[in-house]
């Protein structure tokens, strides 16, 4: 399973990738913002994990843009962000995010949300 990890913080990208490795996922690509993620995304990506606040193109703009693309309509998207007020979370859900992880997170929470998204995709 291949992930695309999108975050403007290099440290945070490594933490997410490290957490993914810990729970058994070794195949990851990285992008520093939404615009770069749009160029890196292709049919080989099985799940996107994106931050919200990023320069050039935010995570929310990236999700909206990806959902407009034929190859990005169905890909599971997990948002991992510090933003945690109700309005923001609802906005993310409306934009097409499949699940939401609040920073700081533990690998267990990340695994739980990945499993939930994959389970929902299989059930659909």
């Amino acid at each position: 399973m291949k992930f695309l990890v999108v975050d403007d913080s290099a440290t945070m990208r490594r933490i997410v990738i490290n957490s993914l490795q810990r729970i058994g996922y070794d195949n990851c690509e990285e992008a520093g913002d939404g615009a770069e993620a749009l160029t890196r995304f292709d049919g080989s990506i099985d799940m996107v994990i994106t931050d919200w606040n990023m320069p050039n193109m935010s995570g929310l703009e990236f999700v909206r843009a990806l959902r407009q693309r034929a190859d990005g309509k169905a890909v599971p998207i997990l948002m991992v962000t510090t933003r945690s007020i109700r309005e923001d979370i609802v906005q993310a859900a409306q934009a097409g995010v499949n699940n939401y992880v609040v920073k700081p997170f533990t690998p267990e929470v990340l695994r739980e949300k990945i499993d939930a998204v994959l389970g929902a995709m299989k059930g659909a």
Partner: protein, 224 residues
């Protein structure tokens, strides 16, 4: 709350207040002076009564004090805000570098443990596998703890933006005292709005390391 240097401004305020009181006294004195018969006729500056000339002089002194106050505000407050802003940026960079170094070290440590495990498996030694597993768990937990860098970085970015906004506002206030700059200030009547409109917000003003479970529960409730 904006604070300025306490060394000079109180003196300036005291002097300004004293000058204004003096000017007010002179104006009261003028009011008590009976008006001349031809009071409605225009006069030139040379014919102004002596108390009015003294009032004019006092007003000039007050204006001079205000100009000096503006200079003090610019020197003590704006300089300090600028330095603080620079320091905040340094903190952000330093924590990013430190976190990267720590991640490198932790990765190497995990690699060592993996090699120990491989060697132990080859020698069929059942000895301290549980301890190693715990050590690995601790190292992974340390990596997770480094999320503080991303969060504090956003907090610092917020503080930095606040200081920049404060600087713009103080400059606008300082310009009010400089009559020569009033015309140029017209295009800058709402500096805070202009500044926030042009800046791309790349941080969460409410970013926090606290109560992650409570905030995650809200997200879970919304996403079902």
């Amino acid at each position: 709350m904006i604070t300025v240097s306490r060394r000079v401004p109180p003196e300036l305020l005291f002097d300004s207040e004293a000058s204004l009181r003096s000017a007010a006294g002179l104006l009261r004195e003028l009011q008590r002076t009976p008006a001349p018969a031809n009071a409605m006729e225009p006069r030139d500056i040379a014919t102004l009564p002596e108390p009015l000339a003294r009032a004019y002089s006092e007003i000039c002194t007050v204006l001079d004090m205000l100009t000096r106050s503006r200079t003090v505000i610019e020197r003590t407050t704006l300089d300090r805000v600028g330095v603080m802003n620079e320091k905040l940026r340094e903190v952000s960079t330093a924590t990013e570098l430190a976190a990267t170094d720590m991640l490198d070290g932790l990765d190497r440590a995990i690699g060592c443990i993996d090699r120990l495990d491989a060697r132990a498996a080859a020698d069929a030694e059942p000895a301290d596998g549980a301890d190693r597993a715990q050590l690995r768990e601790e190292l992974y937990r340390l990596i997770g703890c480094l999320q503080f860098q991303d969060i504090t970085s956003q907090q610092l970015a917020y503080a930095s933006t606040t200081l920049e906004d404060l600087e713009v506002r103080i400059r606008a206030i300082a310009q009010l005292f400089d009559l020569g700059l009033l015309e140029g200030a017209e295009a800058d009547q709402n500096p805070s709005v202009a500044a926030s409109d042009t800046a791309t917000v790349t941080f969460d003003p409410a970013a926090s390391t606290r109560d992650a479970e409570v905030r995650q529960a809200l997200a879970d409730e919304i996403f079902g």
